[in-house]
Symmetry: C2
Subunit: 323 residues, 2 copies
Amino acid sequence: MRGSGLTEARALAVLREELADFGPRTAVGIGDDAAVLEASGRRQVWTIDACVEGTHFERKWLSMEDLAHKSIEAAVSDVCAMGARPIGLLVQLTLAPWLTTTLLRRLAREQRATGQRLGAPVMGGNLTAGRQLELVTTVLGELPGRALLRSGARPGDQLWLVGSVGRARLGLLALQNGWAKKAALAACLEAFRRPRALASQGRALASRARACLDVSDGLRRDAPRLAEESKVAVVIESRRLERLVDPGFARAARALAVDPLEAMLDGGEDYALLATGPQQQRPRFARAIGRIEAGGGAWLERGEDRVRLRGGFEHRAPGGPAR
Amino acid sequence: MRGSGLTEARALAVLREELADFGPRTAVGIGDDAAVLEASGRRQVWTIDACVEGTHFERKWLSMEDLAHKSIEAAVSDVCAMGARPIGLLVQLTLAPWLTTTLLRRLAREQRATGQRLGAPVMGGNLTAGRQLELVTTVLGELPGRALLRSGARPGDQLWLVGSVGRARLGLLALQNGWAKKAALAACLEAFRRPRALASQGRALASRARACLDVSDGLRRDAPRLAEESKVAVVIESRRLERLVDPGFARAARALAVDPLEAMLDGGEDYALLATGPQQQRPRFARAIGRIEAGGGAWLERGEDRVRLRGGFEHRAPGGPAR
């Protein structure tokens, strides 16, 4: 049975089917960045995220401080993409055999600092032993107003990008190729190791945007999710995306022999926000990269051509076959 | 560096030091069964727990239904031990290469049924790939009244046990020895595979007990935690504990050549509740097994002798040395 190759997409489909009824307190269940629940008369946003050695990172790529930072920012990003304010987090830590007291202390110090900076302190957690280091982070947030869902996009909306995409992917490629010392790649390495959840932007979008999600798996994979949840067509305009390529990013892509546009489409883990809303409500910090139309699917428009965006990067069980 | 042998106890000490400041919303941080937080003007209880293949279970020991059940009940038990009512849960699922669609479907169905039965539906979660199957469950609960902490025990209190201890351990030993078919062990196997969080008992204790924790790692390891957090001596009276050995449990212990009292002291994963309170407030469902005195540490009293209880079973990183 080893290597049955159950993909995350297939597994998600099964879970959505089987867990369909989320109970009366759940306003939004599976299918968005976070669950929205009614508790104590107010709305909360709640998410869980994993950072697993061998799947999401290799030990030699990240310092303990990087790991603390990256695992927390990634989890908090889901709460920010809903327009919520993070208020606290818990961490399930799986201790690998190689983890020493000194390394653990460095990890915990940065967890504390990162949590406090985000207004979401580490309130507790759990410990267990395992074969590799893992951090599973759950974040609770409060919604000042309505939740910013994946399902709110409407035909006629503009498509907005907040933050950058592709840098973290180039950083990952640099690490995989052993080119971590190249000066042209320094900013991309930083993007991979120290992403930032766009907390204030998420909250500002809540009153202006109709839909939002965080780009954790790349536009190629996340734009179709927005299309599916909103039942619309998401059109990314290639010329607008290309305008966001700055000289530093172009240099980094060249150093890795990667097309910058491809890196922007495939790159996850920058935790940019992809949002939609009426053109006149676009905040200054959001860049227009396309539009929403009636129909379905996500599309890259180049002049008169349209290419459908599907799939993209997917974590797969080690030992599982490529499909 | 492999096999540095960082124990969970040592790791917890490091984390408590480094994460000392839990922020203004946190009423109770590390050191209790769950965190207590102030959110939206009311108190919530929040916990996270892991169920890891190779650490907490072997695949051949548990059906998908057992696993769904056990992982949720274990996590919910922490919320019950605080006197809170569970309202929902999220599950981070790490997909092992051997997991098929059929197995996943069976897992999800039982997760749904178990969550609904406990009044805490699965509201969402996260998926990732990994080397082994893992379920990390986070549970949110509401506190109708005050939180039942580990730190509330006072000298003069009686020591109460709710539920049974030792059965799940005998079930585990039966599985490890390949004796899962012996009739004398059936009830113990059931205790290991299908533990129950003591939800209504936890809530009833909230108005009667002064302190409570759930016995997830065995009395030998959890009684000292109660002593430490309350700064008291916890005295377990051997003759009272022995009175709880019924013929079925004695038979199971005999079949495994284990002393029943030792099994009761070492056995975790039954998710019994250990509580303290004034003798006259003991609920009918709680059995008196000892008392609280001034001083420190946890003790087993046999006639005039006292033996200090320390340590006990600890999950350890595979490959790490025994200390």
